[in-house]
């Protein structure tokens, strides 16, 4: 099993969600995140005082999948999230040792 984590632009979330659903993904976890990469931040001015805002809002999408599906899921996310502009985010895949469904106590692939 693999965990696919994507940090994307917040305004791409709806498209990413729809694309994942279309690809047969039945569940995901979405959380608000903030951070920066090459994009860095921007400047805001309040009553003449300038603030450099480094951490910009992002959305983190996490999907648990069978190992063989992971790279396809990552591709689906990338396609849906891509705008081609700096700040589009990143997707990464890590191996997962075990998964347990809380309701039933099932382990492994059956819990996905």
């Amino acid at each position: 099993m693999k965990l696919v984590t994507a940090v994307i632009q917040p305004h791409r979330l709806d498209d990413v969600k729809a694309a994942l659903e279309a690809a047969g993904i039945r569940g995901m976890t979405v959380s608000e995140a903030s951070g920066y990469g090459r994009q860095r931040g921007h400047t805001e001015v309040y009553r003449g005082a300038e603030y450099t805002v480094d951490l910009v809002p992002k959305v983190r999408v996490e999907v648990l999948v069978e190992s063989e599906a992971a790279s396809t899921v990552a591709d689906v996310v990338v396609q849906a999230a891509q705008t081609g502009k700096i700040g589009d985010g990143k997707v990464w895949i890590v191996p997962v040792e075990d998964v347990v469904r809380v309701r039933t106590g099932e382990h492994g692939a059956g819990a996905l």
Partner: protein, 442 residues
């Protein structure tokens, strides 16, 4: 004299409008503070409502208005302590004032001014002051600074146009009134210069917030601030149009002038921002509203509407530049009480000497465009200077006394963690996310 129910109805309405300004101010200030101190910021306004609502009834009215003036500076606080003897005549009827509505409505109207004026000061010392110290300051300051100023300007004292005033001493007296009377329609000196100077003095004596100028102190919720600015504008119709003390043409003129100046000040502030910073901001619009309202306050009944537009633009531009001074001069007037209320109050009070249609630099005594003399300008500058000095000295004495006894500041740890939890045992928001964190201030 017969009761003028029209005037009475308008003045009750005006009093209610002005009372609403203080919760409006709480929103205006609260939105500009950080999320960890918004409740304390708002509580400074609500606390002022508590203290001054009580104090005013006990001795505030009596110190401001009455027949036993002490050297033209304040009235005997015991003349009508607790409003005793001030409201009813010997037959048990409500005493009417010169505008034929009951004096008790004047009390209602004036207490709301005392509350908002004191609450204004709190913006200069945001996020770092013990609530107890603020509450004690509010009661002492309103007694020693506000009530005397109200007496001096509006209660027939030194800065009024009465025969015992400075104006009478300078320009002479005709029929019991000074030949050239100072003009402060609704409180440029009493309210805005008074509160603005007090804010400056407190910011200097109490000192900066930890990290001022180094760590980010961005407004945490500008929607609150804009709502607050809207409520202030709405309430200000009571403040200015109510200061006609009648439901008449002067009230209508004050209403129109208030809106014209405020609208112009929004534009003035936004143009400065657009040129200087690249964007017209929502905080700029909200601030422009207040800058315009402040400046038109002393002038609302004395200008024509076009003069009010000119005054509003000047105030909007002046205040937009003035709010940057604290960074250059290094004092933490956190929410710009000095930059908006002191500067706007001075602009309004002095520009009356240029723009009054009753005889000023640009208008003759008949209201025609043309040179009408310098007398009005001199007396306007004089009342402004006296207000600055009086408020400055009194506030400094009170502030130093509190510093030496109770102490003003919360501990540095409390300031870092947020004053809301330490001072009030509450936090404004659940699970506030880090969101967009500014990491550097230029």
């Amino acid at each position: 004299m017969e009761l003028d129910s029209g005037n009475a109805a308008w003045m009750l309405t005006s009093a209610s409008l002005v009372l609403l300004m203080t919760p409006g101010l709480a929103l205006f200030y609260g939105g500009m503070s950080r999320a960890k101190s918004v409740l304390n910021m708002m509580m400074m306004s609500f606390g002022a409502m508590g203290v001054i609502g009580v104090v005013y009834v006990l001795w505030g009215w009596s110190m401001s208005y009455g027949t036993q003036s002490v050297a033209g500076i304040f009235n005997n606080p015991f003349e009508s302590f607790g409003l005793a003897g001030a409201l009813l005549d010997g037959d048990g009827n409500y005493v009417l004032n010169g505008f034929n509505y009951p004096v008790v409505i004047d009390v209602a109207f004036q207490v709301t001014f005392a509350i908002i004026t004191t609450a204004l000061i709190s913006g200069a010392i945001a996020e770092r002051v013990k609530f107890s110290a603020w509450m004690i300051f509010a009661g002492i300051w309103v007694t020693l600074a506000y009530f005397p100023m109200a007496h001096m300007v509006w209660g027939g004292g030194l800065l009024s146009g009465s025969e015992n005033s400075l104006a009478a001493a300078i320009f002479g007296v005709t029929d019991g009134a000074a030949n050239v009377a100072p003009l402060d329609f609704a409180g440029g000196t009493v309210v805005h210069i008074n509160a603005g100077v007090a804010g400056l003095v407190l910011a200097l004596i109490i000192g900066k917030r930890k990290g001022f100028g180094k760590v980010p102190m961005r407004p945490h919720n500008l929607t609150l601030t804009m709502l607050g600015a809207g409520l202030l504008w709405f309430g200000w119709f009571g403040f200015n149009a109510g200061s006609a003390f009648a439901a008449d043409g002067v009230a209508g003129l004050a209403w129109v002038n208030t809106t014209a100046a405020t609208a112009a000040a929004i534009l003035g502030w936004l143009v400065v921002e657009k040129i200087r910073d690249g964007h017209a901001t929502s905080l700029g619009a909200a601030s422009g509203i207040v800058a315009g309202l402040v400046a038109i306050t002393p002038a609302a009944g004395a200008l024509n509407p076009v003069g009010s537009i000119a005054l509003g633009i000047i105030s909007g531009v002046a205040c937009a530049f003035a709010v940057g001074l604290k960074y250059k001069l290094g004092f933490d007037d956190s929410l710009d009480v000095v930059g908006v209320h002191l500067v706007g109050g001075l602009v309004g009070t002095v520009l009356v000497g240029f723009l009054s249609t009753g005889g000023s630099v640009f208008f003759t005594a008949e209201g025609a465009f043309g040179f009408g003399g310098l007398d009005q300008l001199w007396i306007q500058i004089l009342i402004a200077v006296v207000a600055v000095v009086y408020s400055g000295v009194i506030t400094a004495i009170i502030a130093i006394a509190i510093k030496a006894t109770l102490g003003w500041r919360v501990s540095e740890d409390v300031e870092s963690a947020g004053i809301d939890l330490a001072e009030h045992g509450e936090s404004a928001y659940e699970g506030i996310s880090a969101g967009r964190i500014a990491t550097e201030v230029k």
